[in-house]
């Protein structure tokens, strides 16, 4: 509305005071570490922190020229795309099915939301125990079915395992949003489409799915960021980046190089690159994907 007026506070400092806690949190937990990372990324430091030397962009050059880093980039792309797609597709499927349930709707929803309350490392351990080739219950089933299951040696299988664990944990969150999204679609639209001669599948793809686009888009951004950052615990618990760096994602490599191998400069440079990648990805998503999104 053109005539809407802004709320003004008589006290000049009150608005800043009200904003202060949020700003403080952002400053302490984001800007400070981020600026530290940028600072560290142009320094070369020995493992004991006794001497530092300014090296300009040398760290970046070395990181980007490292085949291990490029491998890690590839692993991350595969891992993130697979995790986001599987987590979103399964969540959507479950949400659509839960939407049809009439009795005990609440119970289904509650049960489906529980996995979200599980901490990443615990989720990782859970999957590790289930699929550990020597003692896992489900691993035993898979092996007795004649499949040579060994994620400790087979990189692809290790990837399948961490993607499953990461997606499993995120399904709950996506499910919650998809359920809310589905509920916000008026029933009369579905009925109108039914009268217009669209079968159930057609209704889903021509009416429901397009109307869920804002939710899907939001979840795409959230899931990408999740796959990039929040899956560290799972990878750490399940594969530790192995076998042979087959599951070493960018975040895991940052941790490994910085805190295990104590190459602080490289690690910081990787963090900065990671930050740029995520900023870039989010910008691209908003710029190109959001255009196709219709906000009802």
């Amino acid at each position: 509305m053109a005539s809407s007026t802004r709320v003004t506070f008589p006290n000049k400092f009150l608005p800043y005071l009200l904003l202060a806690p949020q700003l403080a949190i952002t400053a302490i937990f984001f800007y400070w570490p981020a600026s530290q990372a940028i600072y560290q990324s142009v320094l070369r430091e020995d493992p004991f922190g006794l001497s530092t030397q300014f090296v300009g962009l040398d760290n970046f050059r070395r990181v980007l020229g490292d085949p291990n880093y490029l491998n890690s980039l590839q692993v991350t792309v595969i891992f993130s795309v697979a995790t986001a797609l599987i987590a979103m597709a399964l969540a959507l499927l479950l949400a659509v099915m839960a939407d049809k349930v009439i009795r005990g709707k609440g119970i289904y929803r509650t049960l489906l939301i529980w996995p979200y309350a599980v901490a990443p490392a615990i989720a990782g351990m859970l999957w590790l125990f289930l699929f550990n080739p020597s003692m896992g219950t489900l691993a035993h089933l898979v092996r007795s079915a004649g499949y040579n299951w060994d994620p400790l040696l087979n990189g692809d299988q290790a990837m399948v395992l961490i993607v499953s664990a990461a997606a499993w944990k995120q399904i709950s969150y996506n499910f919650l949003f998809f359920v809310a999204g589905l509920q916000s679609i008026p029933k009369s639209l579905i009925e109108a489409a039914a009268i217009d001669g669209a079968g159930e599948t057609k209704r889903f793809w021509t009416i429901v799915f397009p109307l869920l686009a804002p939710t899907t888009f939001f979840l795409l951004v959230v899931n990408t960021v999740y796959a990039f950052f929040d899956t560290f615990g799972i990878i750490h618990a399940v594969t530790g980046g192995g076998p042979g760096k087959a599951t070493e994602t960018l975040v895991y490599k940052v941790y490994n190089d910085g805190f295990v191998n104590l190459i602080l400069g490289d690690s910081a440079a990787q963090s900065v690159i990671l930050m740029i990648i995520v900023i870039g990805l989010t910008a691209i998503q908003f710029r190109y994907v959001e255009r196709k999104v219709h906000y009802g």
Partner: protein, 356 residues
């Protein structure tokens, strides 16, 4: 083009909640049937059962002499206009109208022709490239109509299509819907809770209450001869005045003990209700009894001038009533008036609410 026939149609939710209690309605080809009633009377449920959006517990629904109970909404060859229009928000007006035709696999050039023809009729030609959110309420309403007419269905179903519009637009659209329905000659079922809409649109008016039909007939017949006190007070605004009356050995007694002349009325022993429309009262100048009418004493509570006429609110025999007088009323609060109800305008209802 088709007739619609409902026979003993029932709807039971769960095991006991009977929303629609055995309804029989026959609608001729090309007629506009209006289902009217207060909210919760089952009119929308009934419409949705005709549409195939609700299952039919009992009875049969026939469209074009064919039982459609087991057919899905798409196979019944009906089109429905929803209260909230139910336009597909992500599609342009053109696509909204073309959607049903595309789903039926109609060739592109035919779809184009039909959509453009419908747009022409509804004056939507300029708006075909817009999305629903860029339209006003009245325009959305038109698109919803357009989506119904492009399909040339056997039956149109309207579920309170005008209730989201403001009063002025509602009046306009009412006329448009009526004209369009006449022009296309498509059998229609129209649900509303607005008695004015019901009166003006209907060829056949069905007054519903608590899951049952109270009365079926031509609108003016229902107005002039309501079958029950429910119909009497539902159809007409302001509603019909209803005054309880009892008979004793020496004449008729109102609730507060006022005696009135019997005027040849035969009141059952259980008592009755005298009904009269607000416009059917004559305000008598003196206190003389008017010949051929029922004379009643009215104590004025207040007057509402609405321009062309005035509503005089008052009490007769302990019961609140309203009288419609042309132009301005000279009455003031606490005035005593003598009003006459001409005998032929008098309605009499038994204690059970049924017309005597």
């Amino acid at each position: 083009m088709a007739n619609v026939e409902l026979t003993n149609v029932r709807k039971v939710y769960g095991s006991s909640v009977e929303a629609v209690k055995g309804i029989n309605i026959a609608i001729e080809d090309g007629a506009l049937c209006v289902l009217v009633g207060p909210s919760g009377c089952g009119k929308s449920t009934l419409l949705r059962m005709i549409a195939g959006l609700e299952s039919i517990t009992d009875g049969t629904v026939k469209i074009d002499d064919k039982v459609v109970n087991e057919l899905g909404p798409a196979e019944r060859d009906i089109a429905m206009v929803f209260q909230n229009y139910a336009l597909y928000p992500h599609m342009k007006v053109y696509d909204n109208m073309a959607y049903g035709l595309r789903n039926r696999g109609m060739p592109k050039d035919q779809i184009d022709k039909r959509v453009k023809d419908a747009a022409q009729i509804l004056e939507l030609t300029q708006l075909l490239e817009r999305r629903p959110k860029e339209l006003s309420g009245g325009q959305r309403q038109r698109v919803a109509m357009g989506r119904a007419i492009v399909r040339s269905p056997k039956v149109f179903l309207f579920d309170e299509p005008l209730s989201n519009l403001d009063a002025k637009l509602r009046g306009q659209m009412r006329v448009e819907i009526k004209n369009l329905q006449r022009q296309l000659g498509v059998t229609s079922v129209y649900v509303t809770h607005d008695q004015l809409e019901a009166m003006t649109l209907a060829d056949i008016l069905v007054v519903m209450n608590a899951g049952s039909v109270e009365q079926i007939g031509a609108p003016l017949d229902i107005y002039e001869k309501p079958a029950s006190t429910f119909v009497a007070s539902f159809i007409g605004a302001p509603p019909m005045n209803l005054v309880p009356v009892k008979a004793d050995h020496s004449g008729l007694v109102l609730k507060d003990g006022t005696r009135i002349g019997a005027e040849g009325l035969s009141i059952p022993a259980t008592g009755a209700l005298i009904g009269f429309r607000p416009e059917d009262l004559e305000v008598s100048a003196g206190t003389d009894t008017h010949i051929g009418g029922l004379a009643l004493d009215l104590k004025v509570l207040g007057v509402e001038p609405v321009g062309a006429e005035s509503y005089v609110y008052g009490i007769i025999g302990g019961e609140r009533v309203v009288v419609r007088v042309p132009g301005r009323s000279t009455s003031n609060s606490d005035d005593q008036l003598r009003v006459i109800v001409p005998k032929q305008k008098l309605h009499l209802f038994g204690a059970d609410g049924k017309r005597i």
